[in-house]
Amino acid sequence: MLLIPCPWCGPRDEAEFHYGGQAHVAYPENPAALSDEEWARYLFFRDNPEGRFAERWNHTAGCRRWFNAVRNTATNEIEAREVIA
């Protein structure tokens, strides 16, 4: 079980968190201006790298704040994290 460094609460058990998938997939500025393919890319396409991966976590059983973290998917080491907004 991962020990995840919440930027607000410190290191906590993975069980307290909800996983939010790939980070930095922003809601498009103007969805209506996008082609079907561009919109589908936003909806359905996510990276799945072996290695460093920026992803979103929500400390649901704690402070309930979302943050981003860079996790190495091969080793599960969390290398960096950032507060959203």
Binding site: M1, L2, A26, D36, W39, L43, N58, W66, T75
Partner: protein, 922 residues
């Protein structure tokens, strides 16, 4: 039966039964040692081949001696404490679960420490003592009932006293320190990310909880897990009487038990010579030591050593009666013996290290695998990394413990003084022999527990398998509770032999948790029965119970399902309740609906983005129904939105989705729209809500709320009023989920029961449950999110285009409604179904097909039934269904395959009752 207990061995007698016969052992025995003391040789029949099997080892690596006792379906006799009255049965064939429920208590403990030491042998004790001396918080866990690891097996001395005595003293000293926790009889069975380890503590039937699971987060870990002796594959190596040499030594030194009278020792290394010496001293006649090497170890004077020899056959049907040995240039000899002791060397016990993500490295000295690089904060000490001398283990452990404490931030403590140990003779290098070559490998076992032989492994490699992982799956070697303890390295080596590849290139199969078997009841702990999941009840719950309502589980909520009167079954009760609402008035506890208070200057803008329809135009005092979609355009939740003030709304959600909707709101606010000034608070449990529905509801409300103007003009549909109902402060919303004139009366949850009793006190109101609510809403074609939808359904699929704003530039899901996929003509639409036989109730989930005779499979399905009920008002059963192109099929006959039958149904609008909405105003 002759006792095989050493003369003069002291012990309090303990009586037990095994396979229906009475025996006596002594306190401190395991079931296995007690059976051996009673001369019981055959303790099992192998699962696949039914061959007789005896006790093979002395601890967790035992493959054969599995027993059942009490509710325990499968335990190892070698680790089972002998207790007075123990009644165990051998496991012949497969295990089977007890018919009796397990009534024992199981607990869980969460713990943190600076240094966790696994194993209380010489290395582990030295590590724990060194770490504890720095002031670090230490947990030392050991799976044995007594400390010392192999010391009680080998009877070596430490610091001038017997090793077991030194170990007990050292552990007691550790246990006396305030920052050290000693866990005996505790097997660490799993090693997960970020130094999270899980252990099971076996406390026994007399303890408050029989077993406890320890979930430990450690800054640093020292693994001092020891080593397992390695078997050798030769013909008949599974016969009762074949035993690991070190295990036989353990039975003699730890339990005073002689596992046989006359032994042949078959070895590749020096350790078996020490075993032979101890067994000879205990009274076992050593017929010969068969050493595969050309140079003998240090045998006792008078013991015959046959160097350059191997065992080629084992005589005896039930158990060993003779051993045939062969050597180049020698005539084969058959030696009479009832015990054959085997040592193929020692495998460092790297299971936990491997689980931690550590890489294993092949080591020529041990002929096995030792720990290599690892990224987790873990040290390995002693035999677990191939250090096999006692002095070496003590030094190695002390150094590892000091390093771990330092890495955890502790320094300069009381130094741990390594105790003196007797000088050890330098060992001759071990030979690495895996199997004794033969023409036929049918009884060369590599995994006794799974009855896997060298022949089976060769069949696998013959079929083209080259990876040891594939061979494992093909043969099942190393599965079940063995988990590679005895069979792992041996199987890899035999694969290497078959393929002509070095063991180093093949590696081992992946070691996985649990290292030892752990009961499901142990893992479940207290999380069973009523404590498995929280139960939520409304403030009216006691009334529902008193009224005899069965309950429906909706998420964690208990909701009254229906209220049967004397002699009524569910069908009769629901038809009566439906009739009451459609013709008179009924009341339902609607308190479980999710309620979220949304406020802030940008609340209206926020709701416009979340809902498909416009919320910002809602006037204070008014209510609007709304639907939320995911960005992919699929319906996520629905409910009503009440505008309380310019900057304040109360949003209701479906009962089961309340938490998910709040999460959804917070996610968008935090991650995409942090500039919006909006605050969301769950207020579900602040309110009790009573739905009053039916043409008579206005009169009932008027009677209870004399201060409220209830006529349709003063209190129109989809508005709310703050007033007093039954003398209680209340908010009344005129909304309907049944199509009838209806109100939802909200009061403080504390006042819920008083309100409900006042409503019931009118004498004219019929209580109704969730089943009636479902029937009434389905008659009106109102979908239930999560029942009539499944995450692939758009508002348009539900016939609710009207809820999707055309004016708003964007909202979540809007762009997806312009995707080609969401306008496909064959999308599944929500429709109604009327069975040709009005008495026929379709099962929910049933599929629909186009033709009255089934074509050859695969049969194309048009969709499925999502809701199905008997309707009092329609005089028929009916159903809602999601049907491909359903809105273009009105009046069509479709078929529902049920068993051998094809049940005809007619497609109708999903709105089956009062499509004009004429009943809304009463």
């Amino acid at each position: 039966m002759t006792s095989r207990r050493m003369a003069g061995w002291q012990g309090e007698p303990v009586r037990f039964r095994f396979d229906g016969r009475d025996y006596e052992g002594v306190r401190g025995d395991t079931l296995a040692s007690a059976l051996l003391a009673n001369g019981v040789r055959t303790v099992a029949a192998s699962p696949a081949l039914g061959r007789p099997r005896g006790i093979y080892a002395a601890w967790t690596e035992e493959p054969n001696a599995l027993v059942r006792y009490g509710v325990e379906p499968m335990a190892q006799a070698t680790t089972l404490d002998l207790t007075e009255g123990l009644d165990a049965t051998s496991l012949r064939g497969r295990g089977r679960l007890s018919e009796e429920p397990d009534t024992s208590r199981y607990d869980a403990v969460h713990a943190h420490c600076d240094v966790l030491v696994v194993g209380a042998g010489p290395a582990g004790l030295a590590a724990a003592a060194a770490a504890a001396g720095t002031g670090a918080r230490v947990i030392i866990a050991d799976d044995r009932p007594v400390a010392g690891g192999s010391l009680p097996d080998t009877a070596e001395t430490v610091g001038g006293v017997p090793g077991d005595e030194w170990a007990a003293t050292t552990l007691a000293e550790l246990g006396g320190r305030p920052d050290v926790r000693v866990l005996s009889r505790t097997s660490v069975f799993g090693y997960y990310d970020d130094n999270y380890l899980v252990a099971v503590e076996r406390r026994g039937a007399d303890a408050y909880s029989r077993e406890r699971v320890w979930r430990i987060r450690a800054r640093q870990v020292v693994l001092a897990t020891g080593a397992h002796e390695r078997p050798i594959a030769f013909a008949g190596n599974d016969r009762p009487g074949v035993m690991l040499a070190g295990s036989a030594r353990a039975y003699a030194n730890r339990h005073g038990v002689l596992p046989g009278a006359r032994a042949v020792v078959f070895t590749t290394n020096d350790s078996a010579y020490a075993a032979a010496r101890d067994l000879a001293a205990a009274g076992v006649e050593i017929a010969a030591i068969v050493d595969t090497r050309d140079t003998a170890g240090h045998a006792q004077d008078g013991t015959e050593v046959l160097t350059g020899h191997v065992v080629t056959a084992v005589g005896g049907d039930e158990g060993v009666s003779s051993v045939t040995v062969s050597g180049a240039g020698h005539v084969d000899r058959e030696i009479e013996a009832d015990l054959l002791l085997v040592s193929g060397g020692w495998n460092p016990l790297v299971h936990l290290f491997s689980q931690a993500g550590g890489e294993l490295r092949h080591d020529d000295a041990t002929g096995s695998f030792v720990p290599g690089p690892v990224r987790q904060a873990v040290e390995v000490a002693g035999a677990a990394r191939g250090v096999f001398t006692l002095a070496g283990c003590l030094e190695d452990g002390a150094a590892a413990g000091a390093r771990a404490a330092e890495a955890a931030g502790f320094r300069m403590g009381d130094a741990f003084r390594i105790p003196e140990t007797p000088a050890e003779e330098p060992a001759e290098p071990a030979a690495h022999l895996w199997l004794v070559e033969a023409a036929d490998y049918a009884t060369h076992f590599v995994d006794l527990q799974r009855d896997v032989t060298v022949a089976d492994v060769m069949k696998a490699t013959g079929a083209g398998l080259r990876s040891v992982e594939h061979v494992k799956r093909y043969t099942t070697a190393g599965t079940a509770h063995d988990q590679g303890k005895l069979s792992g390295v041996l199987t890899s080596a035999v694969v290497g032999h078959a393929l002509g590849l070095p063991l180093a290139d093949l590696g081992t199969t992946t070691f996985r948790a649990p290292y030892v078997p752990v009961g499901f009841s142990t893992l479940a702990g207290r999380d069973r029965g009523a404590l498995h999941d929280p139960v939520r009840t409304t403030s009216l719950h006691e009334w529902h119970v008193a009224y005899g309502a069965p309950f429906e589980n909706v998420g964690q909520w208990k909701r009254p399902w229906y209220y049967p009167r004397a002699g009524e079954d569910m069908e009769a009760a629901v038809l009566r309740e439906c009739h009451a609402v459609r013709t008179s008035v009924g009341a339902m506890d609607a308190s479980t609906l999710g309620k979220i208070d949304v406020q802030g200057p940008d609340a209206a803008e926020f709701l416009d983005r979340l809902y498909t329809n416009m919320m910002s135009t809602l006037k204070v005092g008014a209510i609007r129904y709304g639907v939320m979609c995911r960005p992919d355009g699929m319906v996520f939740d629905d409910g009503t939105v009440i505008r309380l003030a310019d900057d304040r709304f109360l949003v209701t959600t479906t009962t089961g989705n309340a938490a998910a909707v709040l999460d959804w709101m917070e996610e968008w606010l935090q991650t995409e729209w942090p500039h919006l000034r909006v605050y969301c608070t769950s207020v579900t449990e602040h309110w009790a809500t009573v739905a009053l529905a039916g043409p008579g509801s206005r009169d009932v409300l008027a009677g209870l709320a004399p201060g409220l103007a209830v006529d349709a003009a003063s209190f129109p549909f989809m508005t709310w009023r703050d007033t007093e109902v039954a003398g209680l402060a209340a908010r009344v919303c005129r909304i309907s989920f049944s199509g009838e004139l209806a109100y939802e009366i909200n009061v403080n949850a504390w006042d819920g029961l008083a309100l409900w009793e006042a409503v019931m006190g009118t004498g004219t109101v019929t209580p109704y449950g969730t089943e009636t609510m479902h029937v009434l809403r389905a008659e009106k074609g109102y979908p239930i999110v999560g029942q009539d939808t499944d995450g692939t359904v758009t508002p348009a699929d539900l016939g609710m285009d009207w809820v999707v704003s055309k004016k708003k530039p964007d909202f979540i899901g809007k762009r997806s409604f312009a995707r080609a996929d969401t306008s496909r003509p064959d999308r599944k639409h929500l429709v109604g179904l009327l069975p040709a036989d009005p008495g026929r109730l379709l099962p929910e989930g049933a599929h629909l097909v186009e033709t009255g005779t089934l074509p050859e499979p695969p049969v194309p399905t048009l969709g499925h039934v999502t809701s199905s009920y008997r309707s009092a008002v329609l005089g028929s059963t009916f159903a809602l269904a999601l049907v491909s192109g359903g809105r273009d099929r009105m009046g069509e006959e479709l078929y529902v395959p049920l068993g051998d039958e094809l049940v005809p149904v007619t497609v109708t609008s999903h709105i089956l009752y009062d499509p004009e909405g004429a009943r809304r105003d009463g």
